[in-house]
């Protein structure tokens, strides 16, 4: 563990990622205190105005403050990321445990299902599901969960298969431990590290997919502020108000970048292979 902490500390870019994520979380929590204006209050007199003292990042086509909408938008994107990754990881881990621990027919069925899900390009499948369920943030989240659980199931199954063979598992069994006890006390703690890495690296694609679907009009419905939807709204006023196509994109990119940096850093710190490679240099 100490090894892990020092490894992680060395990685400055991962620390920057973690700091940015912390900042984003604070912004999401304190959005009402930080926002200079009401994010959904239209003020038609100030339509499409460029950044000014009153509106630091300008206003949109309904005269709403872009900065306030961006701050509130952080809530949606982060919440979607956390909930989708959380549920997908829980489902994937559970199925991965069943698959790896019991093997046999169940393993076969679950793994073939994973293969079939991976036969679809993921955004296409999420789009088909979200589109059929109808517009709405909940449906977008369901669609992305359906697509995302597979990566956790595969990783978990792999870890279980390698941990299962250890003597301490056999010893626990010999002492009469139940399946449940063996899984929760011996196997899970030893198989969870890769899941944490995958979950951190999984945040970026989830947030990206959610903003993409919102950009296509399937996610959050107006007037709730969401970054992807803001970009789509701004598209029509590109010539008159280029700030509308600029700032929400910056917000998305910073968020994705931060999760990528943190995920890469965690992977390097937890993956012994990457570590030895570094030592070799």
């Amino acid at each position: 563990m100490a090894d892990f902490v020092s490894q992680f500390r060395e990685n400055r870019t991962a620390l920057v990622g973690a700091a940015v994520i912390l900042l984003l979380v604070l912004v999401a929590i304190f959005a009402p205190q930080l926002a200079p204006h009401n994010p959904i209050k239209a003020s038609l007199g100030d339509r499409l105005s460029a950044p000014s003292e009153k509106y630091p990042l300008g206003t949109d086509h309904l005269g709403r403050c872009v900065l306030s909408r961006l701050l509130y938008g952080a809530r949606i994107s982060l919440a979607v990321g956390v909930v989708v990754v959380g549920v997908a990881a829980a489902v994937g881990v559970a199925l991965g445990i069943i698959s790896g621990f019991y093997g046999g027919v169940l393993d076969e069925i679950i793994m073939r299902l994973v293969d079939a899900m991976l036969a679809f390009p993921s955004i296409f499948l999420a789009l088909a599901i979200a589109g059929t369920l109808g517009p709405g943030l909940g449906n977008v989240m369901i669609a992305i969960i359906v697509v995302e659980w597979t990566r956790y199931a595969r990783v978990m199954r792999g870890s279980i298969l390698s941990v299962k063979e250890n003597y301490y598992v056999e010893a626990a069994r010999a002492l009469g431990a139940s399946d449940f006890y063996v899984v929760t006390q011996h196997i899970l703690p030893n198989a969870i590290a890769p899941i944490i890495v995958v979950a951190t690296l999984g945040m970026a694609p989830v947030i990206l997919a959610a903003t993409s679907l919102s950009f296509l009009g399937l996610g959050v419905q107006p007037p709730t502020p969401e970054w992807g939807m803001m970009l789509n709204d701004g598209r029509l006023f590109m010539r008159r108000a280029p700030h509308l196509t600029t700032f929400p994109g910056v917000a998305i990119m910073i968020t994705i970048l931060a999760f990528n940096l943190l995920g890469d850093g965690l992977r390097d710190a937890l993956d012994p292979r990457a570590r030895t490679e570094k030592e070799l240099r």
Binding site: F124, A128, F215
Partner: protein, 318 residues
């Protein structure tokens, strides 16, 4: 070799069956009754008689497993269903749309390789140099930049302000002018991933003993890198070509929507707005089949490129 290919194809059968089941189920996750949902216009509730007629016409009145088997039978005979909007076979618009998508995907892939292979090699042989740091920062930004935003910025700069390229559209059969901006959008984001892969693969290769041996033989650095190292370092890039294609297909959804490129991504988004469920089903099934086929071809090509794989499977068979 033939055995290997046959084995791969046989292993695909259960997966394809599940793919068809997943695709078929998409129609049945519509909240409520599909016939009613489809016929309910903005004006209000649908006429019950019309709903009943529609249900019989589209076969929605039969038991679910019969519907599935009938649908599967049709699909196997090349009939992917009929559009709710035009009542024409859904494959009619899917095929030309896919041709447009393929054009965009191929152009993007070529651009992506043209960027990522040289940049990846230079980054690896000049590890931790300024150029390596710059290109790795660029790759990281490229990975983190959403396609739809990059597309909008390119339109803003090159179409709206500079006027070098059209804002959007397909022109006459997808000419070069119209292809440039969407291909840059898709190609650069794919290049961001491939450059990182190319670099790490090259870094691993140049530490191998045979590279040392080639140098010891007195070969020039150019020959060592360009001939001995490159061949082996390219293998992982080929392995992920299938995944990369899936990535391009995924990206085509928003990129085609932004640039009004009449491909399968745009067709899919359009049919979602129109609630044309058979068209959604047709698009997703078609895309999945193409993706599976591409991955199969990549796997087979890979065994040609890397004889070690063939020996391994042979050794295992014994």
């Amino acid at each position: 070799m033939l055995n290997y290919i046959l084995k791969r194809i046989i292993l695909l059968a259960p997966i394809l069956l599940l793919v068809s089941l997943i695709t078929f189920s998409i129609l049945y996750i519509i909240p409520g009754d599909p016939a009613e949902t489809i016929l309910t216009g903005p004006g209000g509730a649908a006429d019950p008689k019309a709903v009943e007629e529609f249900r019989v016409k589209m076969g929605l009145d039969r038991p679910l497993h019969i519907q599935y088997l009938k649908w599967l039978n049709n699909v196997l005979h090349g009939n992917f269903g009929y559009s709710y909007m035009t009542e024409q076979p859904v494959l009619d618009p899917i095929l030309p749309a896919f041709r447009a998508t393929l054009k965009l995907a191929v152009a993007s892939m070529i651009l992506s390789l043209l960027i990522s292979i040289p940049v990846g090699i230079i980054s690896a042989i000049k590890q931790y140099s300024l150029i390596d740091n710059l290109s790795m920062t660029g790759a990281l930004l490229g990975v983190s930049m959403p396609n739809f935003w990059q597309g909008l910025l390119l339109i803003l700069l090159f179409a709206v302000y500079l006027g070098w390229f059209p804002v959007a559209g397909y022109g006459e059969n997808g000419d070069f002018e119209h292809l440039v901006l969407p291909a840059i959008t898709l190609g650069t984001s794919s290049a961001a991933i491939t450059t990182r892969l190319m670099r790490s693969s090259m870094l691993e290769t140049i530490r191998q003993d045979y590279i040392q041996a080639a140098r010891a033989k007195g070969l020039s650095e150019r020959v060592v890198i360009g001939k001995h190292a490159l061949k082996n370092a390219l293998i992982p890039v080929v392995t992920v070509a299938g995944l990369n294609f899936g990535y391009l297909l995924d990206g085509s959804v928003v990129v085609e929507t932004i640039f009004a490129w009449p491909g399968i991504g745009k067709l899919m988004v359009g049919s979602i707005y129109m609630r044309d469920y058979p068209m959604i089903q047709g698009c997703i099934l078609f895309v999945a089949l193409v993706y599976v086929a591409v991955n199969l071809v990549v796997d087979i090509l890979y065994t040609f490129l890397d004889p070690r794989i063939r020996y391994e499977t042979k050794a295992k068979a014994k």
